[in-house]
């Protein structure tokens, strides 16, 4: 019943869909999951755009994918015969990978992922130097974003090389002693250590330095009590050490040294660095899955297709700050439809708030599709 309803709605969309064809679309493998089936139809290729559109119209798939890789024979059913030629670099940020995923509402999860996405873009542009025109961001149709990098220099990178990129943005394998120099200095009779930072430098060196300076500035601006509390939040910093740090930040002579890039009392200050790194790095992490991908042959959702678990469109995002999936990825109309709510839920779609309680209600078509696809309601 539900599936039938969704399929009918999807069909209407696929009569005239807005598909963004992937570059070198004839070289890609396509894969689909149809309504009412579990297995995936794989190893499909299309040598003309119309044929892909026909497939969508005839089969009305619940989920549609294409391969990040392109092949000599995309429809061959094993890797050897497919003959890998290269692959886009794809980053897949999904709220399911957030450590706190279960506790967040749909909107909160999307918002959090968006912040990770902003960080990712900063890495890609500032550090990796990709041109913005080679980076495309898509809303995944569910709880995440995909970021496609199509710079020709990355197409042939193997999975180990891609892994290095992933490690970079997640700060995995970051070795502080490789990045921040520790120098012994004479302090009266004793030997102390000083950390040398340089915000002008590239890579993590500069990132960490800038983060430290920004953090110090913020702490310095705060009232004493608040600053101390803020410092104490950091693992390993107690009241005494917090006071020491706060006082250093208000000592003109010492501030001067920090501005020169020298941080004395290395041991205390080193404690601050770790949490700062966590903040800068892309922090998605789940045990089983790579949050961002080094895979050179994975399947990604076809831009412009519909996600079977939300009815939302995989949508190109041009203005990230303003993008609102529950508005911009909605394709269905506002004819009123009767649904039977099984699980009460709240959602804001198309600027309208819906608070649905158990029982039969009338809602616009787009809310109906979303609720039914997410299994919150049935079609009545």
């Amino acid at each position: 019943m539900n599936q039938k309803f969704l399929k009918k709605k999807f069909y209407l969309y696929y009569l005239n869909p807005k598909i963004d064809f992937p570059s070198r679309y004839e070289r890609r493998e396509y894969a689909f999951i149809h309504f009412g089936e579990e297995t995936m139809h794989r190893h499909i290729s299309f040598n003309a755009k119309e044929k892909l559109l026909d497939y969508l119209k005839v089969n009305v798939p619940m989920h549609s994918y294409y391969s990040s890789a392109y092949y000599q024979n995309p429809s061959a059913d094993n890797m050897n015969e497919k003959k890998w030629m290269g692959a886009d670099l794809i980053f897949d940020l999904d709220a399911d990978d957030l450590p706190s995923a279960d506790k967040l509402t749909y909107e909160e999860a999307l918002e959090k992922i968006k912040r990770e996405l902003m960080k990712l873009l900063d890495f890609l542009i500032e550090d990796f130097g990709f041109d913005e025109k080679n980076i495309t961001v898509y809303f995944s149709g569910h709880r995440g974003y995909h970021c496609h990098v199509t710079d020709k220099r990355v197409l042939e990178l193997g999975s180990q090389e891609r892994r290095e990129i992933v490690d970079y943005i997640m700060a995995r394998g970051l070795e502080l002693k490789e990045i921040i120099k520790e120098r012994p200095i004479q302090k009266g009779k004793f030997l102390d250590k000083t950390l040398e930072i340089n915000p002008e430098k590239g890579g993590w060196k500069g990132r960490i330095a800038r983060a430290i300076i920004k953090f110090f500035k913020e702490i310095k601006e705060m009232e004493r009590e608040k600053a101390l509390q803020e410092l104490e939040k950091i693992h390993g910093i107690g009241r005494k050490m917090a006071e020491k740090i706060y006082d250093v930040l208000h000592d003109e002579r010492k501030i001067e040294r920090i501005e020169e890039g020298k941080i004395d009392q290395a041991t205390e200050f080193k404690k601050i660095i770790k949490p700062l790194i966590k903040k800068i790095a892309i922090s998605l992490y789940s045990q089983t899955d790579e949050p961002v991908t080094a895979d050179i042959k994975r399947l990604i959702r076809l831009p412009g297709s519909l996600h079977g678990k939300t009815g939302l469109k995989v949508t190109k995002v041009s203005n990230i700050e303003e993008f609102n999936p529950l508005n911009d990825a909605v394709v269905f109309g506002d004819d009123m439809v009767k649904i039977k709510v099984e699980k009460p839920f709240k959602i804001k779609m198309k600027e309208e708030k819906y608070e649905l309680k158990k029982g039969i209600v009338k809602v616009p078509e787009y809310v109906a599709v979303f609720a039914i696809a997410r299994n919150f309601a049935t079609h009545s």
């Binding site: 550090d127 990178l157 394998g173 070795e175």
Partner: protein, 328 residues
């Protein structure tokens, strides 16, 4: 044409061109008496590669010295190909690359840039693009991981020696790849008949030594992190570099041979025997002299590869886990 330059770097395009221009053919190099010196030096190159892992610089005082040095290179290559041993091939490619590395370290930056260009590496104010960096850098070494490098606007900052080190890898790869597809002319086997036999015997001896069975090990005694990694590797799941590194250092530390370690890796999706072998031999100190030690639990944990069990609470290093388990 700078003969001194091509004598030091006989693998560059310019050297090939010079041989072509001089119109010296294979026949002459192999039989003509005046090239005796080049032939001897060619044999020496291969011997040194096999015995010492690096080829010594020849003394180059005049143009004739240089000529002989340049010609000894194709001779050495023919000899290596004629011996038909992958073991020698790997060793030889590395030894030539190391020799070039030593020279590049002493040479001017211009030469390094020139050689880099042969490998399609573009330089920008002494920096190279990260994709080139990733192609050649030994990123299983923490120091070389991209995350620990200064990366800005797509370019990685390296000092001269580091660039030379990257080029060493590029050169090694080039020589290995080229020689893998070559066949030696029949005459080579005749001219160097005795040398070929001697070298083959030596290789057989070395290889036997390396494949000898080491002490019996029991997979069940491995710490969970290593077990996990090995099962992942065996079932064809892509394991991060640091994970592979950990496994190699661990197996080496408990006395597994290179070949046994290699076997474990043979099912990874992008398995490349030559590359993997090279990495194993590097990590285990067979070719670099430095043996990398197995990372501590702390480190493994930060890589997200730690899956502790009860015994793990009492230890701080995977090898200690293994030893404790064995003693039981």
């Amino acid at each position: 044409m700078d003969l001194f330059k091509i004598a030091k770097y006989p693998f560059i395009e310019e050297a090939k061109e010079w041989v072509r221009k001089e119109k010296i053919d294979v026949e002459e190099i192999l039989f003509d008496g005046i090239y005796e010196r080049a032939r001897n030096r060619g044999v020496e190159r291969v011997m040194q590669a096999l015995y010492k892992g690096i080829i010594n610089d020849a003394i180059l005082l005049n143009e004739v010295d240089c000529m002989m040095e340049v010609l000894s290179y194709p001779i050495a290559r023919m000899l290596v190909v004629a011996i038909e041993s992958d073991y020698l091939l790997r060793r030889y490619a590395l030894a030539e690359a190391k020799k070039a590395y030593e020279n590049m370290k002493r040479d001017s930056p211009e030469i390094i840039i020139e050689i880099g260009k042969e490998f399609g590496i573009e330089f920008k104010d002494g920096c190279i693009h990260f994709t080139d960096y990733l192609k050649f850098a030994p990123t299983w070494d923490i120091k070389w991981k991209l995350v620990n490098r200064e990366l800005r606007q797509g370019y990685v900052r390296l000092d001269k020696n580091e660039i030379a080190r990257l080029l060493q890898e590029a050169i090694r790869k080039k020589i290995y790849d080229e020689l893998s597809y070559l066949f030696a002319p029949q005459e080579v086997k005749k001219v160097f008949k005795e040398e070929i036999i001697a070298i083959r015997n030596k290789i057989a001896l070395k290889e036997r030594k390396e494949t000898e069975k080491y002490e019996d090990i029991n997979f069940e005694d491995f710490p969970p992190c290593i077990k996990n990694l090995i099962s992942a590797i065996k079932s064809g799941i892509n394991v991060p570099h640091v994970g592979r590194f950990t496994v190699v250092t661990f197996l080496n530390a408990i006395g597994q041979s290179t070949n046994e370690i290699l076997k474990i890796f043979s099912s990874i999706p992008d398995f490349n025997e030559e590359k993997t072998l090279y990495q194993i031999e590097h990590i285990t100190g067979k070719i670099s002299g430095t043996i990398y030690s197995t990372p501590k639990c702390d480190t493994i944990r930060t890589w997200g590869l730690c899956y502790p069990d009860e015994l793990c609470k009492k230890i701080w290093h995977p090898l200690i886990y293994y030893r404790k388990k064995r003693r039981k």
